[in-house]
Amino acid sequence: MARSKRDILTAVFLLILTCVFYAATFTIKKTSFGTVGSEVWPRAILIGQGILCILYLAKALRGAYTEEEGQGGGLVGWFATYRNALVCFALYAVFLITLPYAGMLIGSILFVFLLLNFLGGWSAGRMAVHGAVAVFSMGAMWAVFTFGLRVILPEGEILRIW
């Protein structure tokens, strides 16, 4: 059985991350008060984590984890497998970046509308349904939070409400 490259890479990444964080504990400010320094607990965690990562790497190198079926196909295969998740993340990132301009109401309607189309298809009939779902669901949610729970959601530059 083939060793899992994925697990080897993950273990190496986690080890590097542990080292970076461990190095960062030396930048934690030392105080004259307090019996136990602020760096003690993070260091204790990181030492434990480092040992666990070494164990994980050793197990991965020994072949304790094997490649699962369907993981092949290179970058294209990987993209095909995680296409939906990647689209969700990309759209969510765009939603957050444009939040100061579009505001929560318009931004969330657009986010839901685009995501529904990406996941469900772009035919005219579906787009009409998706548009209705986006407007009604997000409009209702926005109204509940704004008027029901009195939360001031970001209004954006396009549509000033307050």
């Binding site: 964080f21 136990v36 204790a44 965690i45 984590q49 984890y65 998740a85 839901v112």
Partner: protein
């Protein structure tokens, strides 16, 4: 005193808004629990933002409603379609679905609902009686003991939540690490901010939780494009009528199975990390072993529905016992409730029940009442469940993803929390894909502050590290933690390798030591019984010549 506390709690609980919120919570829980792919945890997490503006008792009563509803909702999908709505109702499908296919879906649903109700009520009674007693034991705990208890909670979560202990422990330590980011609670010093100002306050607990759990769960639900576009369930469940009277009779005739399964559920719930997903299988297995007609299991036996359903609802009470008495969550749902309590500046600890009796008894009673509400509105939710299941998963996922963002923003009114949600959503999905369990990480995030605070207190009191081994409770939890790490291997290899023959005896003998050290009268007696059990097991294996199962078969 007890009556006074109950009356005081009733005053705050029996108000129209609170009861209405509980009804809504139970209904939401029933529907969400019934949808395969949506977990109870997700339902409770998504309810959280709505509870910010409520009083602590209203917020917790609503979430308890969702919790109880979710536990019972899982059985609808399991019985009608054979696909369990939640992991807590996996065993229900073994007999519920065959019974429904034999033309008795109404009876199967009725048995499930009433078994859930009885399990919930039994655990509510145990919760009200055991939690104050356990809290009294908790008052004996010093910081060393609390620190060791947290370590035990993390190790047992890591060992129970997946096949790979190392990955589970790494997930737990990552959770602890996430909890250290930001301002140190004791000295007020910023840690791991890497020069980025918003990180100096650290990550808010809820965006991390929602991101890790709900966000990543939704994304994995829509990963398969074709599946995401299909309606959740096929049509054909509209005509079902729940046969309540016949079901009550069937459930009550199996009182021994009901009580045994409920006790299994409560005990599993008390253990940190072991939730309904484990208790329903355990109870089903025990019911089959104890049954006079074990051959009927899997063919539509009522016993096979009563056992898992009473056990999974009873688990909720057990998990609440640990949270209320010690401030340590029994599972992820109670971890979220702990977070909700912290938002309302209520910190559960052994003194919580005596310091805030109104709130504590309000929670007890809310759990009790939620079971009655569940039975009352179950029939209505069956219809709503049928409607919801006609919606394709991608539509629900897209709307809920946006809702997660709005809800998280409402927590502190800062956009950074939405970025935190996004970041931990990615992390959660990556971890799931790479085979890392999320439960230890979530528990690590929740318990990180408690662990650090108690370690700090312990080391400030004395720099003698041997106190972790010489204080009885601390030693007790460390021994439990150490043995829990080997538990999955023990289960897998039981009777196949020699060390598994010694494992239970060694555990009993080791646990007897701290119990002897505790003094008094009862605990040394328990220690004596444990020690004798350990010695007896060793003697029995010696008599058999240390033979393994395979050797016996040969």
């Amino acid at each position: 005193m007890l009556i006074e506390n109950i009356l005081g709690a009733a005053e705050t609980l029996f108000t129209l808004p609170t009861l209405a919120l509980m009804v809504l919570g139970v209904a939401a829980g029933l529907i969400t629990g019934a949808i395969p792919g949506f977990t109870i945890t997700m339902a409770v997490v998504l309810t959280l933002p709505f509870t910010f503006g409520m009083s602590p008792i209203q917020g917790l009563a609503t979430m308890l409603g969702v919790f109880v509803g979710g536990l019972s909702g899982g059985l609808m999908a399991g019985i009608l379609t054979g696909i369990p709505g939640t992991p807590s109702s996996v065993a229900t499908t073994f007999d519920g679905f065959p019974m429904a296919r034999q033309g008795q879906p109404g009876l199967a649903l009725g048995i499930g609902v009433w078994a859930s109700f009885c399990g919930g009520i039994i655990s509510a009674v145990l919760l009200m009686t055991l939690a104050p007693q356990l809290a009294r034991v908790g008052l004996e705990f010093g910081p060393w003991d609390f620190f060791s208890l947290v370590m035990f909670a993390l190790t047992i979560t890591a060992s129970l939540s997946g096949d790979n202990l190392v990955k589970g422990l790494i997930a737990g330590s990552l959770g602890l690490l996430v909890a250290t980011v930001g301002s140190d609670e004791i000295n007020g010093v910023a840690r791991f901010s890497f020069g980025f100002d918003p990180l100096e306050q650290g990550f808010a607990f809820l965006p991390v939780l929602v991101g890790l759990f709900a966000f990543s769960q939704l994304l994995s639900d829509v990963q398969d494009r074709a599946k995401a576009r299909r309606p959740l369930m096929p049509a054909g469940t509209e005509a079902v009528r729940v046969e309540h009277l016949r079901a009550i009779g069937t459930v009550l005739r199996q009182w021994a199975n009901l009580i045994r399964s409920s006790l299994i559920g409560v005990f599993t719930g008390i253990l940190p990390a072991a939730g309904g997903s484990i208790s329903n299988i355990l109870a089903y297995d025990q019911a089959r072993k104890a049954s006079k007609t074990p051959e009927q299991f899997g063919t539509g036996s009522p016993e096979g529905i009563v056992a898992p359903e009473s056990a999974n609802n009873a688990t909720a009470g057990g998990a609440l016992i640990t949270m209320m008495a010690l401030g340590i969550p029994g599972d992820i749902v109670t971890a979220i409730m702990l977070g909700a309590l912290l938002i309302h500046d209520v910190v559960p600890s052994p003194t919580f029940i005596s310091d805030q009796p109104k709130l504590a008894y309000g929670i007890f009673m809310a759990f009790f009442i939620a079971n009655f509400i569940m039975v009352a509105i179950q029939a209505l939710c069956l219809r709503a469940f049928v409607l919801v299941t006609r919606v394709p998963m991608y539509m629900l996922a897209a709307v809920i993803l946006a809702y997660c963002g709005i809800g998280i923003f409402a927590l502190n009114n800062i956009v950074f929390d939405m970025w935190t949600l996004f970041l931990f959503g990615m992390l959660g999905l990556a971890m799931k894909t790479l085979g890392f369990p999320l439960a230890p990480m979530i528990l690590g995030v929740v318990l990180g502050h408690i662990a650090e605070l108690n370690l700090n207190r312990a080391l400030s009191t004395s720099d003698d590290l041997t106190l972790f081994l010489t204080r009885p409770w601390s030693l007790f939890f460390l021994i439990l933690g150490a043995f829990s790490m080997f538990f999955p291997h023990y289960q897998k290899l039981r009777g196949q390798v020699h060390w598994t023959l010694v494992y239970p005896s060694a555990m009993a003998l080791c646990l007897a030591v701290p119990l002897f050290m505790m003094g008094g009268a009862v605990r040394p007696i328990i220690a004596g019984v444990l020690a004798m059990f350990g010695v007896w097991m060793l003697w029995r294996h010696k008599q058999r010549g240390w033979t393994l199962q395979d050797e016996v078969r040969e």
